[in-house]
């Protein structure tokens, strides 16, 4: 794509602005900010990727992945601000998911070990894990609010902390995975996955693109399940104190 083409594509932004003004949607400012942000973020990422690919040293890739995981953990941790070490627990979870998935991909030589593959696939895995972590924390909070009596009942009968939270943990893990599973059911029927679209536009054979997309679908399923389960088990002990009591308000901001 030429620079001119990009500049011409701003016509679409102007169209959105005109529509917003005409119908008094009051979105003009948001549209401009979003477009400027997207432009800057993507340009910066483009140059960084260029540099990392050119650098051709594992350290560059590792550094890049680390930043990606840090940003993702930071974003998801907002949900559980009062849970001790929530940021680190999410960070560890996403790191494990990343290491396990890349371990399989590279170890079994499913994809070539080039920065291009590692970073693009990692981006999808880490982004997806972040969303799952977010959903999981949301759901866990709602379930605890709703079923506090059950937790207290099990504790009061001499049950362990784990026994008291287990049914709720299980439900929250399940619930946070449903959107991922549902989302994959209509895959390709309505909207082609972004990456597949990209490959096809870039001239790849559609069957090749499909094979690769399938790999991603399977990866994302595994990554999502791993994320919810690992995070669940890392997180639940922080909801209780050493006297095996449920600590209230762990999810609310102080």
């Amino acid at each position: 794509m030429s620079l001119l083409a990009i500049i011409l594509s701003f016509i679409f932004v102007i169209l959105a602005l005109v529509l917003s003004t005409a119908f008094k949607l009051g979105l003009g400012k948001d549209i401009i900010i979003t477009c400027v942000r997207a432009t800057i973020q993507l340009l910066v990422v483009g140059y960084i990727l260029n540099a990392v690919f050119g650098f051709d040293h594992p350290l560059g890739i590792i550094l890049m992945l680390l930043v990606m995981i840090l940003v993702a953990a930071q974003n998801a941790a907002k949900r559980g601000r009062n849970i001790p070490f929530v940021f680190w627990k999410i960070f560890i979870t996403i790191s494990i998911v990343e290491i396990v998935t890349q371990g399989f991909l590279l170890g079994l030589k499913i994809v070539p070990a080039t920065p291009q593959y590692i970073i693009s696939i990692s981006g999808m895995i880490i982004g997806n894990s972040m969303i799952i972590a977010n959903l999981f924390l949301n759901r866990l909070q709602a379930e605890i609010d709703l079923r506090k009596e059950e937790i207290l009942l099990v504790l009061s009968l001499g049950g362990s902390v784990k026994q008291s939270i287990f049914p709720i943990l299980k439900n929250s893990i399940r619930a946070s995975l449903i959107p991922t599973i549902e989302g994959q059911k209509t895959i390709g029927l309505v909207q082609l996955p972004g990456m597949m679209t990209g490959q096809i536009i870039a001239g790849a054979d559609p069957i090749q693109a499909v094979k690769f997309q399938l790999l991603i679908v399977f990866l994302i399923m595994a990554a999502a399940s791993l994320t919810a389960i690992i995070l669940g088990f890392l997180l639940y002990p922080s909801l209780f104190n050493k006297e095996q009591q449920l600590v209230p308000n762990r999810f609310l901001s102080p």
Binding site: E149, E150, L152, L153, V154, L155, S156, L157, G158, G159, S160, Q163, P167, E243, Q244, Q245, N249, P254
Partner: protein, 242 residues
């Protein structure tokens, strides 16, 4: 003494503010005694119960159960020694049998004689395979008591267990609790808003107001000649309502 509270304080953070809920409670209950606890709602009665089995921890003061300070107990052992039954008779998803066996299941054991417990609390054995959440209020409360008894507690904490029931069911549950007390010499801390019940069943009665133990006396004395002005007012006001 089976239960002994020494200068117990407890506060909660409510919307960023510290609220003092118990302000130095001193009192005790003997083995096998029924202690009825009355007072306005929000005065701290439920909080006292939840301290006794360490569902909450006191901020200050000491609380002895069976002669041992609660923080020296193994938490899970203490919670089996001191059972609690809640007003709502909360049930887990699952059958009556699963709910009744829960205390055993939590220890990785099975309950050998569910029928015995059902008979004891006056529930038909046919209910064992029913969904627990489908039971009536009275049946739920019976099951809730039976489930607590599976742990064979020495102390039983009752938090308004008859408040949500009609008067017939309430009377039956009351009789059941009295027989538990007789049969097992169980010490009972019984929070109730039904003053006639507190008078009927108690050996000792406490009046709690604003986080303070205003008056503690034998139940007879408490109701025939209350000493504190606030107790008299509370009893009169409650009688006027009827």
């Amino acid at each position: 003494m089976e239960i002994e509270l020494k200068n117990i304080h407890k506060s909660f953070i409510n919307q960023g503010e510290r609220v003092s809920v118990l302000k130095g409670i001193n009192g005790e209950a003997e083995k096998g005694e029924i202690l009825t606890i009355i007072g306005p709602s929000g005065s701290g009665k439920s909080t006292i119960l939840s301290l006794c089995n360490l569902l909450q921890t006191p901020d200050d003061g000491e609380l002895y159960v069976g002669g041992k300070e609660i923080r020296d107990w193994d938490v899970r052992q203490l919670r089996r020694y001191v059972g609690i039954a809640f007003q709502s008779g909360p049930m887990m998803k699952g059958t009556v049998l699963e709910n009744l066996s829960l205390p055993m299941q939590l220890q990785g054991r099975t309950l050998d004689n569910p029928q015995t417990y059902m008979n004891y609390v006056g529930l038909s054995e046919e209910l064992l395979n029913r969904e627990a959440k489908e039971l009536s209020g009275g049946q739920r409360q019976r099951l809730s008591l039976a489930r607590t008894l599976v742990n064979q507690p020495s102390v039983l904490l009752l938090d308004e267990v008859t408040s949500a029931l009609d008067s017939k069911a309430a009377q039956e549950i009351e009789a059941l609790i009295l027989s538990i007390n007789k049969d097992h010499n169980t010490t009972i801390l019984w929070v109730t808003h039904d003053l006639a019940q507190a008078e009927r069943v108690g050996d000792q009665t406490w009046f709690i107001m604003d986080g303070q133990l205003v008056e503690a006396a034998t139940t007879k004395q408490f109701f025939s000649e209350p000493k504190d002005q606030r107790t008299k007012e509370f009893l009169n006001r409650s009688r006027d309502k009827k």
